[in-house]
């Protein structure tokens, strides 16, 4: 990589690469970076393919990542057709306006908090789900990482078993568990607490979300901890650290990258979740996911659905940005001490 680095400063800080850098210089001349990148007629190293071969992969990657998002963002700035779904190619910010304001019969604009409330509920449920998932996943991941290599393989397999069947089917199973005659209510009656309305509540919805996203919290934490050197724990004990300190300053610290990805992998899909609020929440609590789905289906307001999606994306990106800034500050703070 550093062989293609046009910045000579890096070359001086990495003496190992210095020689290669000098050799390249005469050939490279002063051509712009993009030309150097594409125009190199020879492979970077013997045995490597020419860089042009990477173009199809890059195109496919862009198409499948940025492509749909670009379409959604574009749709959000377009107008509804007079009848039916779809969009017409006429620039408009109506969709975003509808998020915050309503127009009454006479065309008067007034503030409308309904959609903000939906966003707030979704955000709250997603945060709750994420917090519980991470709290449950950490001890599980730690326990897994301390088992023998063979046992770890089996445990990872067990964690991934839910992925083998369809999410809808698994959510229906939860409906059976939580309904009035299900095992939970049977147990509650047995304990004399009487039947409770569990299904079709936001409680059931959150249970479903936790169930769905727990493996996504366990797996990255496990992978962060599986390479953890438990001799560091012995070293910490030896240096006088008690158990809580060892947990906080050594084990949790090592698991941190996994915790961060676990949070991201739980929060992002939970925020836009669709299946659990409908099937387990009974659609009583409107969530962003359901709102978006209904805009593309019944309401036939594609631009508004696209605008909602864009807002979710923006909130998620801002969250990720804040997390990385905070992470950076935390490590700088630790370094300064």
């Amino acid at each position: 990589m550093s062989g293609a680095n046009p910045n000579p400063k890096t070359a001086t800080t990495q003496p190992a690469d210095k020689r290669g850098e000098h050799g390249d210089r005469t050939e490279r001349g002063d051509r712009p970076a993009w030309k150097r990148w594409f125009a190199s007629a020879h492979p970077v190293k013997p045995g490597m393919l020419n860089r042009l071969w990477s173009v199809p992969s890059i195109l496919i990657g862009l198409l499948f990542t940025l492509g749909p998002i670009g379409v959604i963002v574009a749709f959000s700035f377009m107008s509804r057709p007079d009848m039916g779904g779809g969009v017409v190619f006429r620039f408009s910010t109506d969709a975003y306006e509808k998020l915050l304001f309503r127009h009454d019969y006479f065309g008067n604009r007034s503030f409308d908090a309904r959609y903000l409330a939906v966003l707030g509920t979704s955000l709250w449920q997603a945060l709750l789900t994420t917090a519980i998932c991470v709290a449950l996943a950490f001890p599980i991941a730690l326990w897994m990482s301390m088992k023998s290599a063979k046992a770890q393989q089996i445990l990872v397999l067990l964690v991934t078993i839910p992925f083998w069947t369809n999410l809808i089917v698994r959510t229906y199973a939860w409906m059976l568990i939580l309904n009035e005659n299900g095992p939970v209510n049977w147990l509650l009656r047995l304990l004399g607490m009487g039947s409770q309305q569990l299904l079709y509540t936001s409680f059931a919805s959150v249970i479903g979300l936790i169930y769905t996203f727990l493996p996504f919290a366990i797996l990255p934490m496990y992978s962060a901890l599986s390479g953890f050197d438990f001799r560091l724990v012995e070293a910490a004990y030896d240096l006088g650290a008690h158990k809580p300190t060892v947990m906080r300053r050594v084990i949790l610290r090592a698991a941190m990258p996994g915790v961060m990805s676990g949070i991201a992998l739980c929060f992002i899909p939970a925020f836009g979740s669709y299946v659990q609020p409908v099937l387990l929440g009974g659609g009583r609590v409107l969530m962003v996911g359901n709102l978006i789905a209904s805009q593309f289906a019944e309401a036939r307001n594609w631009p508004f659905g696209a605008a909602l999606s864009t807002v979710i994306l923006a909130v998620t990106l801002l969250g990720a940005l804040a997390a990385s800034i905070m992470g950076g500050m935390a490590s700088r703070k630790a370094g300064a001490r």
């Binding site: 001799r231 030896d238 630790a334």
Partner: protein
């Protein structure tokens, strides 16, 4: 001082050394994968003087590391006690023992800088920031890493990481410092430098060092006292000179340095016979009955080769190898035993050449009688 009499009866030898670390009848048994019981520590009693460099030496799997970890509190003993002075420490948690370990893998915290690693143990003692900073710098200076405080462990070489681990443990001012095969991961040259460094640091700090190694040369060059371990037991405890010159048994003789074992028979209170040729020995042979089949253990550098005499033990020079500082010579005795002999040049080429018949002489002080 001695008013606090320990409740448990202790080895008499242990009793004499109140201020150091004493291990009294320690036992630790593991169950192996096949369900067999393995005595990692088998009734071990050792007394280690305060401020000495003590070595636990033995082949891998002999229990020396388990013993070290038991002192650190990372393993629990099945039976026996460990005392530091008069304080019994074997029941304390590892974080409550005034003992620190330099791990074989160094076990530096990868997410902390060098200075933060060294500071870790001091923070656990809730020392003030200024004091921690001062001690960290002192310790890094002690191990010649004063400029490296801001680096991460993965930016250091193996030898530097080793020294950070040492500084981190020393910063706690332990009463005893435990070093687990600490130099074995380093290359030869670095290991020799670190041996000198460790001795210097041990002298300067006056801390008792207990050093585990399987390298007998390292043990001889560094130790004040050495315990040679085999199968969970010390075979011999003594100074390097005692261990080398007066091995207690065949295992110790064989494990330390090069040695020749020659079949012999006891013929008197201080005489043995090798192939019918009598040799005087200074060792007390009262443990063996007359006529007992024993082995004479002789160091290669203690054997003298001279022109053949009728009454002496005779052999044939098979190979003669110039090694620089000395000459390695293999001599076959008439019964087929091969003797390794180490000579200092120059030697008489008229007497000593390949195929020559020579007499083998050993002074009485340099023959060690051990079991066959």
């Amino acid at each position: 001082m001695n008013s606090a009499k320990p409740l448990v009866a202790r080895d008499p030898e242990v009793e004499r050394r109140e201020s150091g670390l004493t291990i009294n009848r320690a036992r630790k048994t593991f169950r192996s994968a096949e369900g067999k019981e393995v005595h990692a520590i088998d009734d071990v009693s050792i007394a280690i003087r305060q401020g000495e460099f003590f070595i636990l030496l033995g082949p891998s799997g002999c229990g020396k590391t388990t013993l070290l970890r038991s002192i650190a509190g990372l393993e629990s003993l099945d039976a026996g006690e460990i005392y530091l002075g008069n304080q019994r420490i074997d029941q304390l948690a590892p974080y409550d023992r005034p003992v620190n370990t330099v791990f074989q893998s160094y076990a530096l915290f990868p997410h902390l800088t060098v200075a933060q690693n060294v500071a870790f143990g001091l923070e656990m003692e809730h020392k003030s920031k200024g004091e921690i900073k001062k001690t960290v710098q002192e310790m890094l200076d002690l191990v010649h890493l004063g400029e490296f405080g801001g680096r991460r462990p993965n930016q250091l070489s193996g030898g530097q990481q080793q020294r950070v681990a040492l500084a981190r443990s020393l910063a706690k001012r332990p009463k005893v410092l435990l070093l687990d095969e600490s130099l074995s991961a380093l290359d030869f040259k670095l290991r020799q430098q670190m041996q000198v460094e460790l001795k210097r640091i041990q002298r300067e700090t006056g801390i008792t060092f207990i050093f585990v190694t399987h390298d007998q040369e390292e043990a001889l060059s560094m130790g004040d006292h050495i315990a040679v371990f085999s199968k969970g037991k010390p075979e011999q405890i003594g100074t390097p000179e005692e261990i080398y010159n007066e091995p207690a048994n065949r295992f110790v003789a064989d494990f330390i340095g090069d040695i020749n074992f020659v079949d012999a028979v006891t013929t008197g209170a201080n005489e043995i016979t090798v192939e019918g040729v009598p040799f005087k020995v200074e060792q007390d042979l009262s443990a063996w009955p007359a006529g007992a089949a024993i082995s004479a253990a002789i160091r290669p550098e203690r054997i003298e080769l001279t022109a053949p005499r009728d009454t002496a033990l005779k052999g044939t020079v098979e190979t003669l190898m110039f090694m620089g500082a000395d000459v390695r010579c293999e001599v076959r005795l008439t019964d087929g035993t091969m003797l390794l002999v180490r000579l200092s040049p120059p030697y008489d080429t008229a007497v000593l050449h390949q195929g020559a018949t020579v007499s083998v002489n050993v002074e009485s002080a340099h023959i060690r009688v051990v079991e066959r």
